[in-house]
Structures are given as structure tokens and as C-alpha cells.
Amino acid sequence: MSGITLSTRRFRPQGLLPAALIVGAALTYAVVSLATAQSAQLSWAGIAGLLQRMVALGITACGQTLVLLVGSIDLSVANLISVSAVIAAHVMNGRPDAIALGIAAAIAIGVIVGLANGLIVSKLKVSPLIATLGIGLVLQGVLSAAYDDLPGSVPASFRVLAYGHVLGIPLALLLLAAVVALAGFVLSRTVIGFRLYGVGGDARTARLAGIRTDRFVIGAHIAASVTAAVSGLYLASWLGAGTPWVGRDGGYDLDSVAVVVIGGTLLSGGRGGVAGTIAGVFVFATIDAVFNMLQIDPFLGQILRGLIVISSVAAYTFRGKAHVA
């Protein structure tokens, strides 16, 4: 009986969505650069420039993917990025010998914030939206209070991270690739990844299967905060110093959620992955580049950006039958 029914059933081609997004965005980019006679943007330097637009958001979004998959959300990443960048720059303070210490300090803050987020969400049962929003406000407040006293800049040798090349490939892209690969590997190959999907898909089921769901929620939050910290380190490297507004002005909180959802990960968790997320980040980077090439009025660009976010998600939700709130 099962055999017959299954043969007629379609398996949903989840894997095609990221590819379609990337191809679509890449084509748009190519067509626009040719149409506006800016074929230089199709050179390796142009493409590397396009890809570098992805790095900060991409790294953050990888962590956001994990949190969304586990059924949570992290809105504190933007402020955490600022904190990480400022702390790293302050600790390094131009000294190459303090680079390791600076990195360690930023990552440590990431772990602490992630732990706090995770504990509040899993143990105090606070809605993750509120929990991370609240923690984000705490970070923002503490940072602006302390920033005056946190001067510093990163040493030139640390800026290699953002400006260096290996075999013609920007180091930053390798960093992004590494984070993506790590997250993708964990999700698709390891026991941790499999169980993460379980926790996000249905926490009760996961608990009945003997999975300590709280640990996964906390773990995912720590992962998200650490990626945000890494993103902050990258920005400190790229910008030479940290500023308390770098994360918020960058809009990394809501943008990271948007790209993950555009990439096909369910807001409610349990389905999705980093491939889609990276596709979503690529779409965002392409929007910026294409709007520049087309000389779109910045305000009109803002309107279009909003509509693109909505319509790219609507493209695969509107056929659904279930209720969405």
C-alpha cells in the first residue's frame, strides 16, 4: 500500500530554492552591469567586491539560521556586533601582540551573551523575541554608557583579515566560507545538527526522544552570539575600529532574520539550512550593487528593498494553505 501511494507523491525540492535565488540574483547582476555598460563589475575584482558585501551579514545570518531552526530568534545580534567590535578594538588598541586577546575577549562576550539569551529563553520561558530584544537593549545601553571610555583601534596586522588575499581570494570570503561550511556541516552531518532540527521541529517529540532540548536552544543561542561576535571582529578589522552604532546602523538584526527566511528556513523552526541563508544574503548584496549601478534614488531604493523582502518570501508562502500570523 505504502509503495503505491508514495510513488505518486512529489518530494518537495527544497534544495532547488537556494540555487534558484542565487541564479536569479546573479543573472540580474550580470544583465544590469552589461546594460549599464559597467562590464568591469563582472571582472574578478568586481565580483569579489560584490561577494565582500555578503561577509558581515552572512556570518551573522549563519548563526541566526541555527537559532531560527531551533525555533527561537535572536534580535540582539546587531548590538552584540557593536559590542564585539568595540571590545576587540579596545583590547587590541593597536598592539599586534594583543590580537589574540582581543579575539578571545570578543568571542567570550559572545558566549556570555548567547548563554544569557539561551537561559532566559529556555529556563525562564520568555519569548525569544522579547528576551533577545531586551538583552539587545541592555547591550546597547551598557555600550553607549561605556564607549567614551573604550577607545582603541585594531593593529594593521589584524586588518589583514578583511583586506588580505590568499591566492587572489579575499581572506574575508574564506572566513565567510569557513563559517558557512562549518554551520552547514554541523547541520547536515552531525548528531548535533540532526537533533537541532528535532528540537526546532517539535520540542515535545525531541524531549520524548531523550533530547535535552534546553541545551540545544542554549547552544544555538551561543552559536548565534558567537557568529555575531565574529562578525563584529570582521567589521573591526574592516573598519579599523569599533563604533557603538556599527551593528545597529547595519541593521544586522532584522536583516539577518529576513535573509534566513528568504532562504526558506521556517520562522517556526525545524526546516531550512545555511544554503538558503547564503542565497538570501547574496540576494541582499546584489540588491545593493544593482541599485548602485542603476543609480536608483536612495529613498526609492528603500521602498524597493522592503517590497523585495516581502515578495521574495511571498513567492513560496502564498500557495500554502495553512494559516500564517
Binding site: A40, Q41, Q52, K123, G240, P298
Partner: protein
């Protein structure tokens, strides 16, 4: 049992956060700011305030307070020019006015300018870096104008760009001398000095001063406040409060109202950003009190209110005409003309009750900046939203 554990965990989590916070803050206190550098810049800007600018008196955007020039013969090219402009953002009215000034300036040079390509970084440092890189790799620019969002952040990419084409910065600058010139005005200290000196001179002895600030940690506001704080301290004035309002009118009014309720009377309000001055005035109106001294900026709503109500005011400016200067400098460079540099220091007019009428213009919209140098430009006043 379980719930207890949960709470204990939560509480210890919160405690951990607080502890981290306190440690971070305490640790931060130990850092010292470099006060000698500040004193030097303060003195420098103070001196510039009384210096006489070179150049046509009726065209302040062509004036300079430093006579040094840069030879630009090596950049000389035949017109028309392709000008590229990487802008930090147009997220506040001053930048909007300025961007329109630059576009109008471009119209004045129609024959020389083939294109003015624009990239808006939306206040994101990393986007601005990418934007500049895209301009450089795109190879469609003869000159690059940059209005950096953050000085440190943009330095490396501007250095990259310098290797390929002439670069002009304005508003904020970058920490490198590679741009052909950096268009700037005297600076934040001068702004702070002007307003604070006026307050010191006109406030009754022992009067109550409230300082309103926009947000901590932003260079331009920090320098304005540093200068003002120094003037106030030297005059023995201790403000009754220093409050951050985020330049939000509603919050400004609320803060001022609360201070009025606590102190009964306030004699002067110093602001580090003129956008909130009118809200300050309104708070006094709503409380039924007389206006105190209210410092401001060259934003029309403040100038109009000042003229209308006749309170004691002063408006140091951060002139928006520097947006024209940047483009003029860019064209000069491509024509091989020497330009003021490496710093083109523009004068920074101060509006007082004596010259207020020169600037105030009821036909201009409230968020217009009077020191735009745009009165004779094509499309004035409609381009800036004014009534003909």
C-alpha cells in the same frame, strides 16, 4: 523543584550579565583620553575662528582659512568628466540639503560633467567600503568624492582608491593624506566655543544651565561638547544636567519639561545639535515660562522661531555649502588647477541676532539649513522646498 532550578539559573544568568557590565564599565574607567591633543586642536580652532579667510567674501564656499595649495597638474584631463560620489547617507535633513546643493552645483557645470554617479551607503560603513570599491573597479570614474560615514573605517579603502584616481573628501575626513584635499570647516570645537561663549556672556550669574546632547560617542558631537564643557568649566558654570535626547523632539520636550518641574526655572539651554532647539523653546511655551537662552544651528525652524519670539539665541553653523566646495574642488583637480589643500578649511559663520536677518527666510521650509550657499543656484528655492 524544577521551577526553582530554573529561577536559580535565570537569576544567576542575570547576575552574570550585571557583573560583566560592571566589570566592563569599571575597566573602561581606567582608560584615559588624550587631553593634550584636545587642548591643541581647541587652541587651533579657536585661532581659526578669528582668522581672515582668503577668497571672495560673497562666496564663502570658495574661501579658505589656509592658504596652502596642492598642485594637481598630474590629474589634468580633458572634459567632460565622470564624477563619482560615495555618500554616507541622506538620512538627515542637513545631508538632504547638502546633496541637493551638490546636484545644483553639477548643473552649473553641465558642459564639463558627463556624469555624476552616486552611491548611498545608508549609514553603513561596510556598505560604503563596498560602494567605493565598486566605483574603483568599475573604472567609470575620473574623480571620486567621498563623504565618509566613519573616518577610521573608510581610511583603507580611500587609500586603495587614491592609487587609481584623485579623491576628495568632505564633511568627515579620513586618517590619511592621500586624498588630493579634504574639504572641511573649522570644526566641532569652534562650534562648541561659539555657543558656549554666548551662554557664558549672557546668562545671569549663578543661572541654571541645561546641556542637551544627541548621543554619546559620535565624534562631531563629542568635540562640540568638549569645547563647550571647557568654556563652561573655565567660567565656573556647572550645568544642572547633561541629557541625551537622540535629537528626538518628543524626548527633548519631555526632558526639558521634567527639568523645569525639578528646578522650577532654567536660564540657558545649550544644545550640541540645532535640530532640537525648537522643541526646547516649545517646552518652555507649554510650561508657560519665559524663554531662556537657547542655542541652535542654522536650521530654518530655529532661525524663524528666534526671529519671531526674540529670545536670546545664537546659531553656530556647520555650513552645508561644503557640498558645493567638494564638487568644485573635484572639477578643479581634473582641470589641473591648484586647489587649497591638503585641507581646504572653509569658514564657519556664526549667526547672531545682529546678522540673523541675513539668514532667516520665512519662505524656506523648517528643516532647511540657511548656510547652504545655495541662494543663487539653479532651482532655488523650489529645489530645497522653498516657496518662490
Amino acid at each position: 523543584m524544577k521551577r526553582k532550578t530554573a529561577w536559580r539559573l535565570g537569576v544567576s544568568g542575570a547576575a552574570l550579565m550585571v557583573a560583566t557590565t560592571l566589570t566592563a564599565t569599571a575597566w573602561a574607567q581606567t582608560a584615559t583620553s588624550d587631553s593634550t591633543a584636545m587642548a591643541k586642536e581647541f587652541a587651533y580652532e579657536k585661532a581659526l575662528m578669528s582668522a581672515k579667510p582668503i577668497g571672495p567674501a560673497d562666496k564663502p564656499w570658495l574661501q579658505s582659512l589656509s592658504s596652502a595649495t596642492v598642485d594637481t597638474a598630474k590629474y589634468k584631463k580633458a572634459p567632460p568628466y565622470r564624477v563619482c560620489f560615495s555618500n554616507a547617507s541622506v538620512s538627515n535633513p542637513w545631508r538632504v540639503v547638502g546633496w541637493k546643493v551638490m546636484q545644483a552645483e553639477a548643473e552649473l557645470h553641465k558642459s564639463e560633467i558627463a556624469s555624476l554617479s552616486y552611491a548611498d551607503a545608508q549609514d553603513k560603513d561596510d556598505k560604503q567600503i563596498s560602494d567605493i570599491r565598486a566605483f574603483v573597479t568599475g573604472g567609470k570614474c575620473d574623480v571620486l568624492i567621498v563623504s565618509p560615514h566613519t573616518s577610521d573605517a573608510l581610511t583603507p579603502v580611500v587609500e586603495e582608491a587614491c592609487k587609481v584616481l584623485p579623491v576628495i573628501t568632505f564633511d568627515r575626513s579620513v586618517n590619511t593624506t592621500c586624498p588630493v584635499t579634504a574639504v572641511r570647516t573649522i570644526g566641532g570645537y569652534a562650534y562648541g566655543i561659539a555657543g558656549a561663549t554666548y551662554v557664558v556672556d549672557h546668562m545671569p550669574k549663578g543661572g541654571k544651565l541645561l546641556e542637551l546632547r544627541t548621543a554619546p560617542g559620535i565624534d562631531v558631537f563629542e568635540t562640540r561638547d568638549d569645547a563647550a564643557a571647557k568654556i563652561f568649566t573655565d567660567a565656573g558654570i556647572k550645568p544642572i544636567g547633561v541629557e541625551y535626547t537622540g535629537a528626538d523632539n518628543a524626548k527633548t520636550k519631555a526632558v526639558v519639561s521634567d527639568y523645569l518641574s525639578r528646578f522650577g526655572k532654567i536660564d540657558a539651554v545649550w544644545v550640541d545639535f540645532g535640530a532640537m532647539s525648537v522643541a526646547v523653546a516649545e517646552a518652555f511655551e507649554d510650561a508657560g515660562q519665559d524663554y531662556p537662552i537657547i542655542t541652535g544651528e542654522d536650521q530654518e525652524d530655529y532661525l524663524q522661531k528666534w526671529k519671531q519670539e526674540g529670545f536670546k539665541g545664537i546659531a553656530p553653523t556647520y555650513p552645508a555649502y561644503q557640498w558645493r566646495t567638494a564638487l568644485i574642488a573635484a572639477l578643479d583637480v581634473l582641470q589641473g588647477k591648484p586647489v587649497y589643500g591638503p585641507n581646504w578649511i572653509l569658514p564657519q559663520p556664526i549667526i547672531t541676532s545682529a546678522n540673523l536677518d541675513q539668514y532667516v527666510n520665512a519662505k524656506m521650509p523648517p528643516l532647511h539649513y540657511a548656510a547652504c550657499g545655495c541662494e543663487g543656484m539653479p532651482g532655488y528655492p523650489e529645489r530645497w522646498g522653498g516657496k518662490p
